[in-house]
Subunit: 215 residues, 2 copies
DNA sequence: TTTTGTGAATTGCTTCACAGCA
DNA sequence: TGCTGTGAAGCAATTCACAAAA
Protein backbone atom coordinates (compact mmCIF):
# COMPACT_ATOMS: atom_id res chain seq x y z
CA UNK A 1 0.00 0.00 0.00
CA UNK A 2 3.00 2.26 -0.25
CA UNK A 3 2.87 5.06 -2.77
CA UNK A 4 6.38 5.26 -4.19
CA UNK A 5 7.29 8.31 -6.19
CA UNK A 6 9.28 6.36 -8.75
CA UNK A 7 6.87 3.90 -10.24
CA UNK A 8 7.12 3.15 -13.96
CA UNK A 9 4.11 4.65 -15.70
CA UNK A 10 3.42 1.38 -17.57
CA UNK A 11 3.12 -0.40 -14.22
CA UNK A 12 0.45 2.03 -13.09
CA UNK A 13 -1.45 1.52 -16.33
CA UNK A 14 -1.40 -2.22 -15.81
CA UNK A 15 -2.68 -1.81 -12.27
CA UNK A 16 -6.04 -0.90 -13.78
CA UNK A 17 -5.97 -4.07 -15.86
CA UNK A 18 -5.14 -6.17 -12.82
CA UNK A 19 -8.05 -4.64 -10.96
CA UNK A 20 -10.42 -5.42 -13.81
CA UNK A 21 -9.23 -9.01 -14.01
CA UNK A 22 -9.27 -9.49 -10.26
CA UNK A 23 -12.89 -8.38 -10.22
CA UNK A 24 -13.65 -11.00 -12.83
CA UNK A 25 -11.98 -13.66 -10.70
CA UNK A 26 -13.85 -12.37 -7.66
CA UNK A 27 -17.17 -12.63 -9.49
CA UNK A 28 -16.28 -16.27 -10.10
CA UNK A 29 -15.65 -16.72 -6.37
CA UNK A 30 -11.93 -17.25 -6.72
CA UNK A 31 -10.27 -16.72 -3.35
CA UNK A 32 -6.66 -16.58 -4.48
CA UNK A 33 -4.85 -16.10 -7.75
CA UNK A 34 -1.23 -16.59 -8.74
CA UNK A 35 0.83 -14.14 -10.75
CA UNK A 36 0.92 -16.77 -13.48
CA UNK A 37 -2.85 -16.99 -13.71
CA UNK A 38 -3.31 -13.24 -13.58
CA UNK A 39 -0.67 -12.79 -16.24
CA UNK A 40 -2.14 -15.41 -18.53
CA UNK A 41 -5.54 -13.75 -18.43
CA UNK A 42 -3.97 -10.47 -19.51
CA UNK A 43 -1.25 -11.75 -21.82
CA UNK A 44 1.51 -10.66 -19.48
CA UNK A 45 4.38 -12.59 -17.93
CA UNK A 46 4.13 -13.78 -14.34
CA UNK A 47 7.30 -11.85 -13.51
CA UNK A 48 5.74 -8.68 -14.84
CA UNK A 49 2.72 -9.10 -12.61
CA UNK A 50 4.84 -9.72 -9.52
CA UNK A 51 7.16 -6.79 -10.23
CA UNK A 52 4.26 -4.43 -10.79
CA UNK A 53 2.47 -5.37 -7.61
CA UNK A 54 5.70 -5.34 -5.62
CA UNK A 55 6.14 -1.64 -6.43
CA UNK A 56 3.24 -0.96 -4.13
CA UNK A 57 3.67 -3.45 -1.35
CA UNK A 58 3.73 -7.13 -0.43
CA UNK A 59 0.36 -8.58 -1.21
CA UNK A 60 1.11 -12.20 -1.95
CA UNK A 61 1.83 -15.32 0.03
CA UNK A 62 4.54 -17.76 -0.95
CA UNK A 63 3.11 -20.99 -2.26
CA UNK A 64 -0.42 -19.59 -2.33
CA UNK A 65 -0.61 -16.50 -4.50
CA UNK A 66 -2.56 -13.31 -3.96
CA UNK A 67 -5.80 -13.13 -1.97
CA UNK A 68 -8.34 -11.83 -4.46
CA UNK A 69 -10.66 -9.68 -2.31
CA UNK A 70 -7.81 -8.16 -0.32
CA UNK A 71 -5.80 -7.36 -3.42
CA UNK A 72 -8.83 -5.72 -5.02
CA UNK A 73 -9.19 -3.50 -1.98
CA UNK A 74 -5.48 -2.65 -2.00
CA UNK A 75 -5.36 -1.80 -5.70
CA UNK A 76 -8.44 0.40 -5.38
CA UNK A 77 -6.79 2.21 -2.55
CA UNK A 78 -3.60 2.68 -4.56
CA UNK A 79 -5.55 4.04 -7.51
CA UNK A 80 -7.63 6.21 -5.22
CA UNK A 81 -10.86 4.65 -6.40
CA UNK A 82 -11.84 3.12 -3.07
CA UNK A 83 -13.97 6.21 -2.55
CA UNK A 84 -16.41 7.65 -5.10
CA UNK A 85 -14.96 10.61 -6.99
CA UNK A 86 -17.28 13.36 -8.16
CA UNK A 87 -16.59 14.47 -11.70
CA UNK A 88 -17.94 17.24 -13.90
CA UNK A 89 -18.19 17.25 -17.66
CA UNK A 90 -17.85 20.18 -20.02
CA UNK A 91 -19.23 19.94 -23.55
CA UNK A 92 -22.46 18.05 -23.98
CA UNK A 93 -22.17 16.97 -27.60
CA UNK A 94 -22.71 13.39 -28.70
CA UNK A 95 -19.62 12.16 -26.95
CA UNK A 96 -20.37 14.11 -23.78
CA UNK A 97 -23.89 12.71 -23.67
CA UNK A 98 -22.58 9.19 -24.10
CA UNK A 99 -20.07 9.63 -21.30
CA UNK A 100 -22.68 11.02 -18.90
CA UNK A 101 -24.67 7.82 -19.29
CA UNK A 102 -21.63 5.56 -19.54
CA UNK A 103 -21.99 2.99 -16.81
CA UNK A 104 -18.34 2.05 -16.88
CA UNK A 105 -17.46 5.25 -15.03
CA UNK A 106 -19.85 4.67 -12.17
CA UNK A 107 -18.73 1.05 -11.92
CA UNK A 108 -15.17 2.25 -11.38
CA UNK A 109 -16.02 4.84 -8.77
CA UNK A 110 -16.50 7.97 -10.86
CA UNK A 111 -19.78 9.83 -10.73
CA UNK A 112 -20.54 12.62 -13.15
CA UNK A 113 -22.42 15.09 -10.97
CA UNK A 114 -22.63 18.10 -13.28
CA UNK A 115 -22.56 18.87 -17.00
CA UNK A 116 -21.89 22.18 -18.72
CA UNK A 117 -22.35 23.59 -22.20
CA UNK A 118 -22.35 27.05 -23.72
CA UNK A 119 -25.25 26.37 -26.11
CA UNK A 120 -28.29 28.23 -24.69
CA UNK A 121 -30.60 25.69 -26.33
CA UNK A 122 -29.15 22.94 -24.16
CA UNK A 123 -29.22 24.71 -20.79
CA UNK A 124 -31.67 23.09 -18.41
CA UNK A 125 -31.94 19.88 -20.39
CA UNK A 126 -32.01 16.77 -18.21
CA UNK A 127 -29.49 13.99 -18.67
CA UNK A 128 -29.78 10.50 -17.29
CA UNK A 129 -26.52 9.45 -15.81
CA UNK A 130 -25.85 7.70 -12.52
CA UNK A 131 -27.97 10.51 -11.15
CA UNK A 132 -30.23 12.82 -13.15
CA UNK A 133 -28.45 16.06 -13.85
CA UNK A 134 -29.30 19.25 -15.71
CA UNK A 135 -27.06 20.92 -18.24
CA UNK A 136 -25.76 24.17 -16.81
CA UNK A 137 -24.21 27.21 -18.47
CA UNK A 138 -20.44 27.57 -18.34
CA UNK A 139 -20.92 30.63 -16.16
CA UNK A 140 -21.89 28.30 -13.31
CA UNK A 141 -18.64 26.32 -13.56
CA UNK A 142 -16.67 28.04 -10.84
CA UNK A 143 -19.50 28.03 -8.35
CA UNK A 144 -20.29 24.34 -8.85
CA UNK A 145 -16.64 23.37 -8.48
CA UNK A 146 -16.40 25.36 -5.29
CA UNK A 147 -19.67 24.27 -3.71
CA UNK A 148 -19.25 20.58 -4.49
CA UNK A 149 -15.45 20.49 -4.10
CA UNK A 150 -15.09 18.78 -7.47
CA UNK A 151 -11.53 17.81 -8.29
CA UNK A 152 -11.81 16.11 -11.69
CA UNK A 153 -13.20 17.40 -14.98
CA UNK A 154 -13.92 15.64 -18.26
CA UNK A 155 -13.51 17.85 -21.32
CA UNK A 156 -15.53 16.95 -24.42
CA UNK A 157 -15.60 20.28 -26.21
CA UNK A 158 -14.29 20.86 -29.76
CA UNK A 159 -10.50 21.06 -30.06
CA UNK A 160 -10.30 24.86 -30.48
CA UNK A 161 -12.20 25.44 -27.24
CA UNK A 162 -10.39 22.86 -25.14
CA UNK A 163 -7.47 24.95 -23.90
CA UNK A 164 -9.73 27.78 -22.75
CA UNK A 165 -11.95 25.34 -20.87
CA UNK A 166 -8.92 23.70 -19.31
CA UNK A 167 -7.57 27.07 -18.21
CA UNK A 168 -10.87 27.85 -16.59
CA UNK A 169 -11.05 24.51 -14.82
CA UNK A 170 -7.53 24.93 -13.49
CA UNK A 171 -8.26 28.47 -12.39
CA UNK A 172 -11.33 27.22 -10.56
CA UNK A 173 -9.23 24.72 -8.65
CA UNK A 174 -9.74 21.43 -10.47
CA UNK A 175 -6.90 18.94 -9.89
CA UNK A 176 -7.27 16.53 -12.82
CA UNK A 177 -8.55 16.77 -16.39
CA UNK A 178 -9.55 13.98 -18.74
CA UNK A 179 -9.63 15.45 -22.21
CA UNK A 180 -11.07 14.02 -25.39
CA UNK A 181 -9.91 16.95 -27.51
CA UNK A 182 -7.10 16.12 -29.94
CA UNK A 183 -4.78 18.85 -28.69
CA UNK A 184 -2.03 18.93 -26.11
CA UNK A 185 -3.36 20.84 -23.12
CA UNK A 186 -0.99 23.11 -21.24
CA UNK A 187 -1.65 23.31 -17.55
CA UNK A 188 0.27 24.62 -14.60
CA UNK A 189 2.35 22.02 -12.81
CA UNK A 190 0.09 20.76 -10.11
CA UNK A 191 -2.78 19.58 -12.31
CA UNK A 192 -2.87 16.10 -13.84
CA UNK A 193 -3.98 15.72 -17.44
CA UNK A 194 -4.94 12.55 -19.28
CA UNK A 195 -5.82 12.65 -22.93
CA UNK A 196 -7.90 10.26 -25.01
CA UNK A 197 -7.71 10.68 -28.75
CA UNK A 198 -10.16 8.28 -30.30
CA UNK A 199 -8.90 8.75 -33.85
CA UNK A 200 -5.31 8.02 -32.82
CA UNK A 201 -6.32 4.51 -31.93
CA UNK A 202 -7.80 3.93 -35.36
CA UNK A 203 -4.64 5.30 -36.94
CA UNK A 204 -2.54 2.84 -34.95
CA UNK A 205 -4.77 0.05 -36.21
CA UNK A 206 -4.46 1.33 -39.74
CA UNK A 207 -0.68 1.33 -39.46
CA UNK A 208 -0.63 -2.26 -38.28
CA UNK A 209 -2.94 -3.22 -41.13
CA UNK A 210 -0.57 -1.91 -43.76
CA UNK A 211 2.09 -4.26 -42.42
CA UNK A 212 -0.08 -7.36 -42.46
CA UNK A 213 -0.40 -9.78 -45.33
CA UNK A 214 -3.72 -9.44 -47.10
CA UNK A 215 -5.12 -12.83 -48.02
CA UNK B 1 8.37 6.38 -46.71
CA UNK B 2 9.88 3.06 -45.86
CA UNK B 3 7.89 0.72 -43.63
CA UNK B 4 10.42 -0.94 -41.36
CA UNK B 5 9.37 -3.99 -39.43
CA UNK B 6 11.21 -2.97 -36.30
CA UNK B 7 9.78 0.38 -35.32
CA UNK B 8 9.28 1.12 -31.62
CA UNK B 9 5.57 1.14 -30.88
CA UNK B 10 5.83 4.47 -29.04
CA UNK B 11 7.27 6.04 -32.18
CA UNK B 12 4.25 4.94 -34.18
CA UNK B 13 1.93 6.37 -31.55
CA UNK B 14 3.70 9.69 -31.75
CA UNK B 15 3.40 9.69 -35.50
CA UNK B 16 -0.30 10.39 -35.04
CA UNK B 17 0.52 13.32 -32.80
CA UNK B 18 2.97 14.71 -35.34
CA UNK B 19 0.34 14.49 -38.02
CA UNK B 20 -2.16 16.35 -35.87
CA UNK B 21 0.32 19.09 -35.08
CA UNK B 22 1.53 19.35 -38.67
CA UNK B 23 -2.04 19.89 -39.78
CA UNK B 24 -2.31 22.72 -37.28
CA UNK B 25 0.85 24.29 -38.68
CA UNK B 26 -0.46 23.77 -42.18
CA UNK B 27 -3.72 25.52 -41.32
CA UNK B 28 -1.58 28.46 -40.20
CA UNK B 29 0.20 28.40 -43.57
CA UNK B 30 3.53 27.30 -42.19
CA UNK B 31 5.67 25.93 -45.02
CA UNK B 32 8.42 24.32 -42.96
CA UNK B 33 8.86 23.29 -39.36
CA UNK B 34 11.91 22.24 -37.38
CA UNK B 35 12.07 19.25 -35.07
CA UNK B 36 12.50 21.73 -32.24
CA UNK B 37 9.27 23.55 -33.04
CA UNK B 38 7.33 20.35 -33.56
CA UNK B 39 8.68 18.97 -30.33
CA UNK B 40 7.88 22.07 -28.35
CA UNK B 41 4.27 22.02 -29.51
CA UNK B 42 3.93 18.44 -28.28
CA UNK B 43 6.19 18.56 -25.23
CA UNK B 44 8.76 16.26 -26.78
CA UNK B 45 12.48 16.71 -27.33
CA UNK B 46 13.75 17.70 -30.76
CA UNK B 47 15.92 14.58 -30.83
CA UNK B 48 12.86 12.45 -30.22
CA UNK B 49 11.05 14.00 -33.16
CA UNK B 50 14.00 13.51 -35.50
CA UNK B 51 14.56 9.91 -34.42
CA UNK B 52 10.92 9.04 -34.84
CA UNK B 53 10.66 10.48 -38.31
CA UNK B 54 13.97 8.98 -39.34
CA UNK B 55 12.57 5.50 -38.72
CA UNK B 56 10.40 6.01 -41.77
CA UNK B 57 12.62 7.94 -44.14
CA UNK B 58 14.48 11.17 -44.71
CA UNK B 59 11.98 13.97 -44.76
CA UNK B 60 13.97 16.97 -43.55
CA UNK B 61 16.48 19.36 -44.98
CA UNK B 62 19.54 20.44 -43.06
CA UNK B 63 19.32 24.04 -41.95
CA UNK B 64 15.67 24.30 -43.01
CA UNK B 65 13.59 21.69 -41.25
CA UNK B 66 10.71 19.62 -42.57
CA UNK B 67 8.39 20.72 -45.39
CA UNK B 68 4.94 20.77 -43.79
CA UNK B 69 2.63 19.69 -46.63
CA UNK B 70 4.99 17.00 -47.89
CA UNK B 71 5.52 15.59 -44.43
CA UNK B 72 1.78 15.49 -43.85
CA UNK B 73 1.35 13.47 -47.03
CA UNK B 74 4.17 11.12 -46.06
CA UNK B 75 2.90 10.50 -42.55
CA UNK B 76 -0.60 9.82 -43.84
CA UNK B 77 0.83 7.32 -46.25
CA UNK B 78 2.83 5.64 -43.49
CA UNK B 79 -0.24 5.40 -41.27
CA UNK B 80 -2.33 4.22 -44.19
CA UNK B 81 -4.80 7.07 -43.82
CA UNK B 82 -4.09 8.67 -47.19
CA UNK B 83 -7.10 6.73 -48.45
CA UNK B 84 -10.50 6.61 -46.76
CA UNK B 85 -11.03 3.42 -44.73
CA UNK B 86 -14.53 1.99 -44.42
CA UNK B 87 -15.37 0.91 -40.91
CA UNK B 88 -18.31 -0.89 -39.35
CA UNK B 89 -19.57 -0.57 -35.81
CA UNK B 90 -21.17 -3.24 -33.63
CA UNK B 91 -23.24 -2.22 -30.61
CA UNK B 92 -25.34 0.90 -30.94
CA UNK B 93 -25.62 1.97 -27.32
CA UNK B 94 -24.88 5.48 -26.19
CA UNK B 95 -21.21 5.19 -26.95
CA UNK B 96 -21.81 3.55 -30.31
CA UNK B 97 -24.20 6.32 -31.30
CA UNK B 98 -21.71 8.96 -30.30
CA UNK B 99 -18.96 7.32 -32.33
CA UNK B 100 -21.15 7.04 -35.44
CA UNK B 101 -21.64 10.80 -35.40
CA UNK B 102 -18.12 11.57 -34.17
CA UNK B 103 -16.59 13.88 -36.73
CA UNK B 104 -13.04 13.17 -35.61
CA UNK B 105 -13.13 9.80 -37.35
CA UNK B 106 -14.15 11.18 -40.73
CA UNK B 107 -11.58 13.95 -40.42
CA UNK B 108 -8.86 11.33 -40.05
CA UNK B 109 -9.99 9.19 -42.95
CA UNK B 110 -12.30 6.70 -41.29
CA UNK B 111 -15.90 6.40 -42.41
CA UNK B 112 -18.41 4.34 -40.47
CA UNK B 113 -20.48 2.77 -43.25
CA UNK B 114 -22.56 0.27 -41.28
CA UNK B 115 -23.85 -0.23 -37.75
CA UNK B 116 -25.14 -3.40 -36.13
CA UNK B 117 -27.09 -4.27 -33.01
CA UNK B 118 -28.97 -7.30 -31.76
CA UNK B 119 -31.85 -5.33 -30.21
CA UNK B 120 -34.87 -5.81 -32.52
CA UNK B 121 -36.24 -2.43 -31.41
CA UNK B 122 -33.24 -0.68 -32.93
CA UNK B 123 -33.12 -2.45 -36.28
CA UNK B 124 -33.89 -0.08 -39.13
CA UNK B 125 -33.31 3.05 -37.11
CA UNK B 126 -31.45 5.74 -39.02
CA UNK B 127 -28.24 7.22 -37.70
CA UNK B 128 -26.61 10.42 -38.87
CA UNK B 129 -22.95 9.90 -39.34
CA UNK B 130 -20.73 11.02 -42.19
CA UNK B 131 -23.38 9.29 -44.28
CA UNK B 132 -26.86 8.27 -43.13
CA UNK B 133 -26.90 4.63 -42.19
CA UNK B 134 -29.49 2.22 -40.83
CA UNK B 135 -28.95 -0.09 -37.90
CA UNK B 136 -28.81 -3.66 -39.13
CA UNK B 137 -29.21 -6.98 -37.32
CA UNK B 138 -26.08 -8.91 -36.43
CA UNK B 139 -27.18 -11.59 -38.84
CA UNK B 140 -26.26 -9.26 -41.70
CA UNK B 141 -22.69 -8.83 -40.45
CA UNK B 142 -20.96 -11.39 -42.63
CA UNK B 143 -22.71 -10.32 -45.80
CA UNK B 144 -21.98 -6.62 -45.29
CA UNK B 145 -18.31 -7.32 -44.58
CA UNK B 146 -18.07 -9.42 -47.72
CA UNK B 147 -20.00 -7.13 -50.05
CA UNK B 148 -18.27 -3.93 -48.94
CA UNK B 149 -14.87 -5.49 -48.28
CA UNK B 150 -14.76 -3.89 -44.84
CA UNK B 151 -11.51 -4.49 -43.02
CA UNK B 152 -11.95 -2.62 -39.72
CA UNK B 153 -14.60 -3.00 -37.03
CA UNK B 154 -15.37 -0.91 -33.95
CA UNK B 155 -16.80 -2.89 -31.05
CA UNK B 156 -19.01 -1.03 -28.56
CA UNK B 157 -20.97 -3.91 -27.07
CA UNK B 158 -21.07 -4.77 -23.35
CA UNK B 159 -17.99 -6.55 -22.04
CA UNK B 160 -19.52 -10.03 -21.82
CA UNK B 161 -20.51 -9.93 -25.50
CA UNK B 162 -17.27 -8.50 -26.85
CA UNK B 163 -15.31 -11.71 -27.37
CA UNK B 164 -18.14 -13.38 -29.29
CA UNK B 165 -18.51 -10.34 -31.54
CA UNK B 166 -14.76 -10.23 -32.09
CA UNK B 167 -14.72 -13.93 -33.02
CA UNK B 168 -17.46 -13.33 -35.52
CA UNK B 169 -15.70 -10.33 -37.04
CA UNK B 170 -12.48 -12.29 -37.39
CA UNK B 171 -14.31 -15.25 -38.85
CA UNK B 172 -15.93 -12.93 -41.39
CA UNK B 173 -12.53 -11.68 -42.48
CA UNK B 174 -12.08 -8.39 -40.65
CA UNK B 175 -8.42 -7.37 -40.29
CA UNK B 176 -8.52 -4.85 -37.42
CA UNK B 177 -10.69 -4.32 -34.35
CA UNK B 178 -11.01 -1.23 -32.19
CA UNK B 179 -12.67 -2.33 -28.97
CA UNK B 180 -14.18 -0.22 -26.22
CA UNK B 181 -15.01 -3.23 -24.05
CA UNK B 182 -12.90 -3.53 -20.90
CA UNK B 183 -11.72 -7.06 -21.63
CA UNK B 184 -8.68 -8.49 -23.36
CA UNK B 185 -9.82 -9.81 -26.73
CA UNK B 186 -8.20 -12.98 -28.02
CA UNK B 187 -7.84 -13.10 -31.76
CA UNK B 188 -5.89 -15.26 -34.15
CA UNK B 189 -2.50 -13.86 -35.13
CA UNK B 190 -3.21 -11.96 -38.28
CA UNK B 191 -5.80 -9.54 -36.89
CA UNK B 192 -4.81 -6.27 -35.22
CA UNK B 193 -6.60 -5.25 -32.04
CA UNK B 194 -6.59 -1.88 -30.32
CA UNK B 195 -8.39 -1.37 -27.07
CA UNK B 196 -9.75 1.80 -25.49
CA UNK B 197 -10.80 1.57 -21.88
CA UNK B 198 -12.35 4.87 -20.90
CA UNK B 199 -12.42 4.15 -17.19
CA UNK B 200 -8.75 3.22 -17.14
CA UNK B 201 -7.87 6.76 -18.09
CA UNK B 202 -9.83 8.15 -15.16
CA UNK B 203 -8.11 5.67 -12.87
CA UNK B 204 -4.72 6.87 -14.07
CA UNK B 205 -5.80 10.42 -13.31
CA UNK B 206 -7.02 9.37 -9.92
CA UNK B 207 -3.69 7.75 -9.15
CA UNK B 208 -1.80 10.89 -10.08
CA UNK B 209 -4.14 12.92 -7.91
CA UNK B 210 -3.35 10.91 -4.81
CA UNK B 211 0.31 11.81 -5.27
CA UNK B 212 -0.25 15.54 -5.60
CA UNK B 213 -0.19 18.02 -2.79
CA UNK B 214 -3.67 19.23 -1.98
CA UNK B 215 -3.71 22.93 -1.28
C1' DT C 1 24.46 29.84 -39.48
C1' DT C 2 20.74 26.42 -38.69
C1' DT C 3 19.12 22.01 -38.50
C1' DT C 4 19.05 17.17 -39.93
C1' DG C 5 20.29 12.24 -39.28
C1' DT C 6 22.68 9.04 -36.51
C1' DG C 7 26.14 6.36 -33.73
C1' DA C 8 27.10 6.29 -28.75
C1' DA C 9 25.75 6.82 -24.09
C1' DT C 10 22.21 6.64 -20.98
C1' DT C 11 18.03 5.79 -18.90
C1' DG C 12 14.13 2.92 -18.11
C1' DC C 13 11.52 -1.33 -18.49
C1' DT C 14 11.13 -6.23 -18.73
C1' DT C 15 12.72 -10.82 -18.15
C1' DC C 16 15.56 -14.05 -15.84
C1' DA C 17 16.64 -16.88 -12.18
C1' DC C 18 16.83 -18.00 -7.59
C1' DA C 19 16.70 -17.44 -2.38
C1' DG C 20 13.29 -17.70 0.93
C1' DC C 21 8.94 -18.87 2.76
C1' DA C 22 4.56 -21.62 3.58
C1' DT D 1 6.06 -28.58 -3.70
C1' DG D 2 4.35 -24.02 -5.33
C1' DC D 3 4.81 -19.41 -5.41
C1' DT D 4 6.38 -14.69 -4.05
C1' DG D 5 9.72 -10.91 -4.02
C1' DT D 6 13.91 -9.20 -5.87
C1' DG D 7 18.78 -8.44 -7.40
C1' DA D 8 21.07 -9.07 -11.78
C1' DA D 9 20.94 -9.39 -16.65
C1' DG D 10 19.15 -8.20 -20.86
C1' DC D 11 16.61 -5.42 -23.96
C1' DA D 12 14.30 -1.31 -25.62
C1' DA D 13 13.67 3.52 -25.88
C1' DT D 14 15.37 8.11 -25.17
C1' DT D 15 18.80 11.58 -24.96
C1' DC D 16 23.27 13.18 -26.13
C1' DA D 17 26.39 15.14 -29.14
C1' DC D 18 28.38 15.85 -33.43
C1' DA D 19 29.53 15.28 -38.44
C1' DA D 20 27.44 16.56 -42.62
C1' DA D 21 24.46 19.47 -45.45
C1' DA D 22 22.37 23.73 -47.12
Amino acid sequence: MAKPENTPAPAVRRLSLYLRQLETFHAADRRTVSSKQLGEALSLSDAQVRKDLAYFGQFGQSGIGYPVPELIASVRQILGTDKVTSVLLVGVGNLGRALVSYRGFAERGFEIVAAFDNDPAKIGESLNGAARIQIQPLSALEKVIRVHSIRVGVVTVPAPAAQAVADRLVEAGIRGILSFAPVRLRVEGNVAVASVDLAVNLEQLSFQLTGLADP
